[in-house]
Amino acid sequence: MTGDPASSDTPWLDQGAEPLIKIRGVTKKFGDFTAVNNVDLDIFQGELFCLLGGSGCGKSTLLRMLSGFETTSTGTISIDGIDMSNVPPYERPTNMMFQSYALFPHMTVEKNVAFGLKQDKIPAAQVAERVDDILKLVELQDYHKRKPHQLSGGQKQRVALARALVKQPKVLLLDEPLAALDKKLREQTQFELMNIQEKVGITFIVVTHDQEEAMTLSSRIAVMDEGEFVQIGTPTEIYEFPETRFVAGFIGSANMFEGRVVEDGPDHVRVMTDLGEIYIDHGQSVREGNRVWVAIRPEKIHLSKEPPTEPGPNQAIGMVDDIGYLGNTSIYKIKLENDRIIDVTAPNQIRPKTRTHRITWEEKVYLHWDASSAVLLNK
């Protein structure tokens, strides 16, 4: 993912690229409560950018400041080089897809979609044509005359998307676009949304609390907590190299260990934890003797009934305390010698009945992981 810095797929790595949206020192206070606290962010043309976080983390407030429904307490937001501070929502080059869809219940699908175009005094013929085109894009060409209450949840979602897209905004803001759909439809719609975004080339900013959704959709993710950005990066960066315990825990699951740095080499770090000695093959600026946190993802730990051939770092011994069968994978709760329980996941490639070496309850197992698997955390 971290390829050519000048590539158009990764404009944020290009030092010379001019961002479409510049958020500078933006704070939003509601009385004593700080919803968004002094954030800076650049978003580039064509990105599908996710604001990810739990409820009350400030992601929706930030989105509403972009759309103009909230004013910033301090700081500035500019879109395409224009300061948005005094621009009302109806004059911003943004459109929003609301979480509740906010379809006008007294208008047909067609009228809902045409509403925004009519505000721009576009000739009727052109409006009709653009409405047709966009409804075709979201595969609702036969639904012009339906009213919102005659549509399914998925269809409403697509009308809301069409209505926001048809004005060809510079930025499309999506507030939990898939939250109201059931799981199967949500997964399918994720890919549709990505395809549509690719076709229209409009910058999307998506607010979501669903980490899987963020991982699937985004070019980049900003993880938010308590009104601040905790980490901004591509899905791979966020998952493979979480910088903080919050990110490691919020996205996917992780076993985290507190430990002491025993060696800080130029290309590796060794940390002593209650899992044993962990060798990390990528350097980070820590000092010997520092207390640090290390995270290892459950799927990066290998289980074996056989003891390792030679002793070394990145090894541990434990007892199977519990097994959770999830179908495609199983999750093993392994109790270490110091009674600490850690999670290990392993794919179920072989059917349980035919499995000869299957690991079972109360069994002694040997754990090991690669030097590249563990990550040092900042906080």
Partner: protein, 320 residues
């Protein structure tokens, strides 16, 4: 809350109702029929039956009164004869200048009052909706409170304000706007003030109830799509509050048409309204057949708005 779950809830409710009621019906029907029977009989006896008597009196008495139109139409069948007489009776009422004028004037006054209530009540209801949750409750309470005090005394309060020596005239003279008292009492103006004053809460409450259900994000969505506030109001808020406008208008229009107290106290003899005419016909002239006929006509005049109201009610519940 998703639309899906709302529609699911709507789907489930009638099914449950019928299942439960079926079960209740099967298990014990004795006490059930008593529950229905008592209020049913009460309403039949004291609500429905009186109307039939009124209808009968208006027709029967007119046969004896033998109106001057009998020779205009010739009928042979006795059954049709009575229908003809009933028709003549209503023709008689509509022939009489006083009744026609009074009906038309009642409708005019109640229509204008309804529009005035709407023009004043709509921004008030909208203002309440746009207030914070606590203020909203207090304001609503303040609007309802006068409704619980005596209607008669609220009309009386305006007698003191509108009188020749009253507060409004005194204020205007003190301000130097007028030199001598202007006639405010015993005029249509006074009747309008009285009706708007006493019926305003009936306009505000249904409007409020309707606006409360409005999704505020719709206004945001419209703004987001480039609509200015005025346009958003005309294209989104106004059409969506139409059920409230209709409900409130009928709640004002129907009772205002038949109003007696306000035209009597504030309008005096100068304002013709059908409720007052009917009341006086009955109590002062003791002319029951005419009063009964006037009542039947008034009933029909108000049946139409009621049907419209029912239609919109049914439509409103149909569309979520």
């Amino acid at each position: 809350m998703t639309d899906r779950s709302v529609s699911a809830a709507v789907d489930v409710a009638p099914h449950h109702a019928s299942a439960l009621s079926r079960l209740m019906r099967r298990m014990q029907s004795g006490w059930r029929s008593i529950v229905v029977f008592i209020p049913y009989v009460w309403l039949l006896l004291f609500f429905l039956l009186p109307f039939f008597i009124v209808a009968k009196i208006s027709v029967a008495q007119l046969v004896i009164a033998s109106p001057p139109f009998t020779d205009m139409i010739k009928w042979t069948d006795d059954g049709v004869m009575s229908i003809r007489l009933a028709f003549d009776n209503f023709a008689y009422i509509f022939e009489d200048d006083l009744y026609v004028k009074t009906y038309i004037n009642s409708l005019k006054i109640s229509s204008i009052s309804t529009i005035l209530c709407l023009l004043i009540g709509y921004p008030i209801a909208y203002g309440i909706i746009r207030s914070g949750p606590v203020t909203r409750k207090l304001l609503l309470f303040a609007i309802i409170l006068p409704f619980w005090t005596s209607f008669l005394l609220r009309v009386y309060a305006w007698m003191g304000l509108l009188a020749d020596q009253g507060n409004i005239n005194n204020l205007l003279i003190w301000l130097g706007l007028i030199d001598e008292p202007i006639r405010l009492m015993y005029s249509e103006f006074a009747v309008y003030v009285g009706i708007v004053y006493t019926y305003l809460p009936f306009m505000i409450l249904p409007l409020y109830a309707n606006m409360e259900k409005l999704d505020a994000t719709l206004n945001e969505a419209a703004a987001d799509l480039g609509s200015r506030p005025t346009n958003t109001f005309l294209k989104i808020t106004l059409p969506l509050t139409m059920p409230g406008i209709i409900a409130g208008s009928l709640l004002v229009f129907i009772p205002a048409t038949g109003e007696y107290v306000i035209p009597d106290l504030l309008g005096g003899g100068n304002v013709l309204m059908i409720g007052r005419l009917l009341f006086n016909e009955f109590h002062q002239n003791v002319d029951w057949p005419t009063a009964s006929a006037v009542a039947i006509v008034l009933l029909f005049l108000l049946v139409l708005p009621m049907i419209i109201y029912q239609y919109y009610q049914a439509k409103a519940t149909e569309e979520p």
